[in-house]
């Protein structure tokens, strides 16, 4: 690849990385206090910057959708969840319960979002699929079907543009340099894109079959290594998460799902 030298997070086996990230973000669901996800988020961001060498700018931009989502969660919980002591926020007075749970859910969104950035920013899709085939026993047919479909995904924007231009050419009321913008034409273009994709899947099948897919065991051209360090890293992350919750339990700030209805 073009990267000068893969970072620690990039070298981490993708299957192990996916499993760890999935486990931690599922476990995060069970915690409803603000402190635990906040700490987790800070640790993940630190790991991305230090171990993944992700530029700060990229990281900040990638956080925009999470912040939007988190704000929405915070606002809705503050508005719809009365109870607790009144808290004065400038001109507004809100319930403490809504504020605490809203903040917890918002911080959880940031935490889980940053975990997904670990996957997206430091994993090569082809490497992930190869590793899933090697280490998670994903059948070869599925591996190659998804990889082929991924190729199709890359070409989807071009196909979309071609369809839109074809629509514009056939539109009697077109103006130069403008694509038709009615919802009807957008829907028609989306449907054409879908039909085209289905038809391409038939050609992909022929291509895969002609390469002997499904006729026996296969070898892998660029195997992804899986070693002791990969597993140790996963263990370390899980131990850290466990320690975080344990400390919170001893200190008394960790709350479970029961807090939602209490």
């Amino acid at each position: 690849m073009t990267a000068p030298r893969p970072t620690v997070l990039e070298r981490w086996n993708p299957t192990v990385k996916l499993a760890t990230v999935l486990l931690v973000s599922t476990a995060a669901l069970l915690v409803t206090d603000p402190v635990t996800p906040a700490t987790g988020w800070l640790l993940t961001v630190a790991a991305l910057l230090a171990l993944g060498r992700v530029p700060v700018r990229t990281l900040a931009l990638a956080h925009v959708p999470f912040v939007v989502f988190a704000t929405s969660l915070l606002v809705v919980n503050v508005v719809t969840r009365p109870g607790g002591d009144p808290v004065t926020l400038g001109p507004l007075t809100v319930g403490a319960d809504g504020l605490a749970i809203g903040a917890a859910l918002a911080l959880r969104t940031l935490f889980v979002g940053s975990l997904s950035l670990v996957l997206v920013l430091t994993t090569d899709p082809v490497r992930l699929m190869t590793s899933l085939h090697q280490h998670a026993r994903l059948p070869a047919t599925w591996t190659f079907a998804v990889l082929a479909a991924h190729r199709l995904l890359v070409e989807l924007p071009d196909a979309w543009h071609t369809i839109r231009c074809a629509q514009a050419v056939r539109d009697p009321r077109r103006r130069r340099g403008r694509l038709p913008r009615s919802p009807r034409s957008l829907g028609a273009a989306a449907f054409a894109l879908l039909v085209g994709a289905v038809r391409r899947s038939e050609r992909l099948t022929v291509a895969l079959e002609s390469r002997g897919l499904g006729s026996g065991p296969r070898t892998t051209s660029r195997p992804v290594p899986l070693g002791v360090p990969d597993v140790v890293a996963a263990g370390a992350v899980l131990a850290l998460a466990g320690a975080l919750v344990a400390v919170g339990m001893v200190a008394g700030w960790v709350t479970g799902i029961g807090a939602l209805t209490a």
């Binding site: 996916l18 999935l22 669901l29 969840r81 994993t123 479909a149 879908l194 099948t205 939602l260």
Partner: protein, 226 residues
């Protein structure tokens, strides 16, 4: 057309009734489907992969469009999440409708989630994989109960209701809907949304796709030829 047919085409016999109107029931006329027991053919695998990837992209694009809207609507935005809840599940019933084999809907929905998370970075994070699994299972359950034989309108309504209930239970924990003032209103909106946007829309889309002839090699095409 040089594409090989993986399911044997049946001869056109009668065009007695337009298949769009009559709910197709596998009456005594249709021969038993021999492929139900076996796994997916390569042809079907690739189709499910492509459907998953394309819809993963569509969902992701919708999420991007929706985010600014969500911020603009403020507190109502979270209710809007319930209005659109069904839209994120459409590929499950669609894939089941086309291929008519166990597990296809779950696979397609999970794959769409995988594409969103790993290839496109969704704000919902890796958890979306679990969400996709839950949505797929919810939507496929009614079809599994009919042993993948009934694909009339009611089957799709049942699929929508089931998807709504299952995803609501999951999201009640995930987003803290439990204990909010509108929890029941949310449930109602979500059921309607899932029936319309997931169940009925999947059937309409499947019929429209089948009408183009692109699906002739799959179970849905065979059923249409009857």
């Amino acid at each position: 057309m040089t594409e090989p047919r993986t399911t044997s085409p049946r001869p056109h016999d009668t065009h007695a009734q337009p298949p769009d109107l009559a709910p197709d029931r596998s009456g005594p006329a249709s021969p038993p489907r021999p492929s139900l027991r076996r796994g997916l053919t390569l042809h079907e695998t690739v189709l499910v992969a492509v459907l998953g990837v394309v819809f993963g992209f569509v969902y992701w694009a919708f999420v991007q469009l929706w985010a600014p809207l969500q911020l603009a609507m403020g507190p109502l935005a979270d209710l809007a999440a319930n209005v659109l809840a069904g839209a994120w599940i459409i590929v499950g019933p669609l894939a089941t409708y086309i291929v008519r084999k166990p597990g296809v809907g779950v696979l397609a929905e999970t794959l769409a989630a995988l594409v969103e998370v790993v290839f496109l970075a969704s704000p919902a994070g890796p958890l979306l994989l679990v969400v996709g699994l839950v949505q797929g299972v919810g939507a496929e359950l009614p079809f599994a109960l009919t042993r993948y034989r009934r694909f009339g309108w009611w089957a799709f309504v049942a699929s929508g209701v089931s998807a709504a209930l299952v995803t609501f239970a999951f999201n009640a924990v995930r987003f803290g809907w439990l204990g909010q003032d509108y929890a029941l209103l949310r449930l109602g909106i979500q059921v309607v949304s899932c029936v319309v946007l997931c169940g009925l829309a999947a059937r309409l889309l499947g019929d429209a796709l089948a009408r183009t002839g692109a699906l002739d090699a799959f179970a849905i095409g065979a059923a249409r030829r009857g």
